[in-house]
Amino acid sequence: MSFPILTSLVVLPIVGALALFALRDEEENERAIQIFSLVVAIAVFAVTLLLWARFDSASADFQFVEHHAWIPSFGISYNVGIDGISLLLIVLTGFLTPIALLCSWESVHKKTRAFCMAVLLLEAAMIGVFVSLDLFLFYVFWDAMLIPMYFLIGIWGYDRRIYASLKFLLYTMAGSVLMLLAILGLAWLHQTTAGSYSFDLLALYSLPIPEHLQFWFFLAFALAFAIKVPLFPFHTWLPDAHVEAPTAGSVILAGVLLKMGTYGLVRFAFPLFPAAATFFAPYLAFLAVVGIIYGALVAMVQPDMKKLVAYSSVSHLGFVVLGIATLNTQGVQGAVYQMLNHGISTGGLFLIVGMLSDRRHTRLISEYGGLKLVTPHLVAAFLIITLSSIGLPGLNGFVGEFLILLGTFAWNPKFAVCAATGVILSATYMLWMFQRVNYGTVSEKNRALPDLKPREWALLVPVIALAILMGVLPNLFLRPIAPSVERMLEQVRRGAPVEANASGRDVTPRAGN
């Protein structure tokens, strides 16, 4: 067996977090703690890049698989492996964690050691979720993510942090409990059909599940994921959590945590229960489209920048769910791409809002204005990230949105027409905010604001570079995704009832007739 690279990816941040105990949580150690954890996070990122370099993009199989028995009597094993979809999400996690740590250097001074440990442990749990090929293991990591996030919001958040963190926890737990029941149900079903318990995802993929059971299992999984996404109408925890979370929390929450929901749909809910997924796809798409429009409209009227970005996430994630529901190549590839995009652009927006709020200690749009005169570099970065968020071609957002719309149009043009209004609305709310914050005359309160500091340059440059790279060379990222998406679609098609297959789910050009 080769080097257990996935395990080391999970363990590395944990070791780093534990090593922090060596440094006493005192003020004079603060910088040392911050530097050490940043180094750990960068090392993790380097390993994720190494992983990508070693990854065989042409293959649809799970790679770097490690399989060890854990609790054999229940068929629980330590089973990890990745395909193209999880690969890129892991790289995204590796990319955003150092940024989250670095962006808190000047804003978090309370219990710095605990803060850094929480972020690193959260990273471990997130990577754990993406590498798990065993449902039990997945669930362990899934719930493990909640704890550091809960503390990040609850301890280092803003004024209403207790309310927000509790709301976040309860909402997510409510979904997870049902999912746990469904997971246990699946293992039990494996026992009744195959004679032994199993939580092995690959074994369960090939398990024939009666359609009526699929129905309930799918609902349980989908609810947990829908809350996490969050899909309309399960989204109301998100604005509160974002607004109260520290910048690092918002970056990770928007950048990675929200993708857990959509990742779950792609990895578990759809391929495990193809018949139910095919049946429910239009309903999911409907909620997604409602979310796209609803999120955008509500974002438009927010007085608080962070809330505005949070609601825009509801809209953007609606696109992702819509893409998954199309169950065709372009739609699902676009959805996976959009997951990455959203991590970059919304992560970037939260960074910017954090920088402004570090300077002025307010996030109210009306408190700003005319910043272009005082902080031109910050505003230039703000502009590029805004454009990435509204899907300007040449930047990352466009590629995902366009592929999703393409897939949707081929599947159900009505959904595509409704979703495409998001193109207008996103420009409206983003540019309106941009105008109110950056244009116009500058008030006395903002006149002395400093422009970007070196540390802030270091945060924004990678984000912007990636936004441009993903917009100009999308194939670099689409290539590893493609085989995995095809495999997942194939799984769904094989398991779906025949009549659903015939309804033209693939983009088959009908040229010349």
């Binding site: 509500v298 031109p376 071609p393 719309l405 393409l406 209004t421 193109v423 493609a482 983009v507």
Partner: protein, 671 residues
Amino acid sequence: MLLLIPLLPFFGFLVNASFGRRLTKSASGSVACAVMLAAFGVAALSVWQLLGMDAHNRAIEQHVFDWIVAGDFRAPLTLRLDPLSSLMILVITGIGSLIHIYSTAYMHEEIDSEYARYFSYLNLFASFMLVLVLGANFLVMFVGWEGVGLCSYLLIGFYYQKKSASDAGKKAFIVNRVGDFGFILGVLLLFVRFGSVDFQEIARHAAGLSPEVAFGTLSLATLLLFVGATGKSAQIPLYIWLPDAMEGPTPVSALIHAATMVTAGVYMIGRNAVLFSHAPETLQVIAVVGVVTAFMAGTIGLVQNDIKRVLAYSTVSQLGYMFLAMGVGAYTAGIFHLYTHAFFKALMFLGSGAVIHALAGEQDIRRMGGLKSELPVTYWTFLIGALAIAGVPLLSGFFSKDEILYRTYASGHTWLWVLGVATSLLTAIYMFRLVFLTFHGTRATADVVAAAQHGHDGGHGHDDAHGHDAHGHHLHDAPKPMAFALIVLAVGSILAGYVGVPQVIGGSNRIEQFLEPSFTVSERAGADIAGLDAVREHQSEESGPELMLMAVSSLIALSGIGIAFFFFQKNPSASDSVATQFAGLRTLLSNKYYVDELYDATIIQPIKIVSEEGLWKAVDAKVIDGSVNGVAESVGSLSELLRRLQTGSVRAYAASLFLGVVLTLGYYLWR
């Protein structure tokens, strides 16, 4: 080599955007102009190369790399130069260079960093515009399409401290996004139908079909694309952003909002001529929208008092002509007008810029007059532009506009022709109203001084430094770089039409022969295209009507100038009495038919109110969070109940533990 054409201005953008703050004005201006001139050189060489090829298969293609590939969807970054795009790149780089040169003087009052910022945007614009016209498929075109929209947004809002400027920029972007909504859906529909987004492939597929008799997929797709065109090219119902776009610096209005970007919609239709020819229903819509826009904008132009706004409505109106041409299948005529219009409208905008520059930011023509003697270069060049746009014989506008009107008439659209001719009367009137009020008559100096102050108060962006001009006794005519651009464009406005002199008066209409292959698939398949054939037949039939129509248009142009002369030069009191007589109409026109107000009341305000009061404060806060809290509360009371079970008594716990064990064991024993 093709890639170099957009890359050169992009390089200029990078330089000015990254180091602009540290560069002197002359350095950043020189870089910007140099890259444009270099791009013009490369463009000219490429076109030269193109001209050397077989007349029916003139095309140079460059595949750069595969941009987006997903399943059977493929959007390569491919550039393609054919007769149509070659004309466009010459206009963009040629007139673009002139406007860059003009700008070096016009923007000279800005501080270094703002100057560099201006040129970086202008270069970026040119780069995207070149991508737009060189793109070989819809997606690459869309990169340019959105990119120029972005630059337009940035440049309209260049004086960002001014609320009206940033409002106008935002409005332009959002209205264009409404158009893009249609554009994207059109592209999606075409892909689903034909399996490609490549212009040539789509044309090839379309050519194999017979034109749609009833409204079908092609009609829908082309109509959606046309929605995109109405946004970018400011046609009904999305024209409302263009007049506001005049908030930007005047050279920007000349380049982006007259000569190049706003013609993108016309270009897009020309680029897909074969496709549009197969959707006669859509063509009908385009022709009607075009001519109605032309007429309506003309009427508004009659009563505007801001020199740039008159020109803006005139641009909307002239774009309407181009769409009329496209709609009646006269693609060459439309593109020909696009090309001549680029000269004379850029010229007039730059001329108005010279006036504004001399008058320290004054834009109200009621406060002007008598500038003829003080600004001779500006006056004479502006006059040439006005004569050209009015359609006075032997100037460029005459040939192109006449071609459109003739083709409209020849294709049997008599009513559209009547409206078109009426518009051409309006054009002559409002243009010469502008000429007479600005340059003739007398100027009250006090007024101008007051205006200069007004300029300061209103924060006319770029006025601070040249306040002294207005206080001085005589005004400065255009400085050298500006005069240079004006003169070159004036010469162009006279001569540009001679590539398209119709056969009927002894010309050879070379531009038609040159462009024709771009509107057909290839020489053989192209013969099937009904729309073009019909036009071609008409054209060869008889020369009588064509000559007569030509005489009618010339007469109309001259009488329009005469009317303007009577009302605004010879007898100003007559215009006042007409204005009072038709006060209601005048108010309607000055308020631009209240279209902005209508949109605000029926679309913008309802959306804001519903989103804020309905969705956010009611649905989100009350309905969803309300029910979540409801669940939480019931869970709370349930736990309250459960809490009572936890009495703290060890005996009670022991008893329940025992009970549990018994029940579990019992289940396993008796099952």
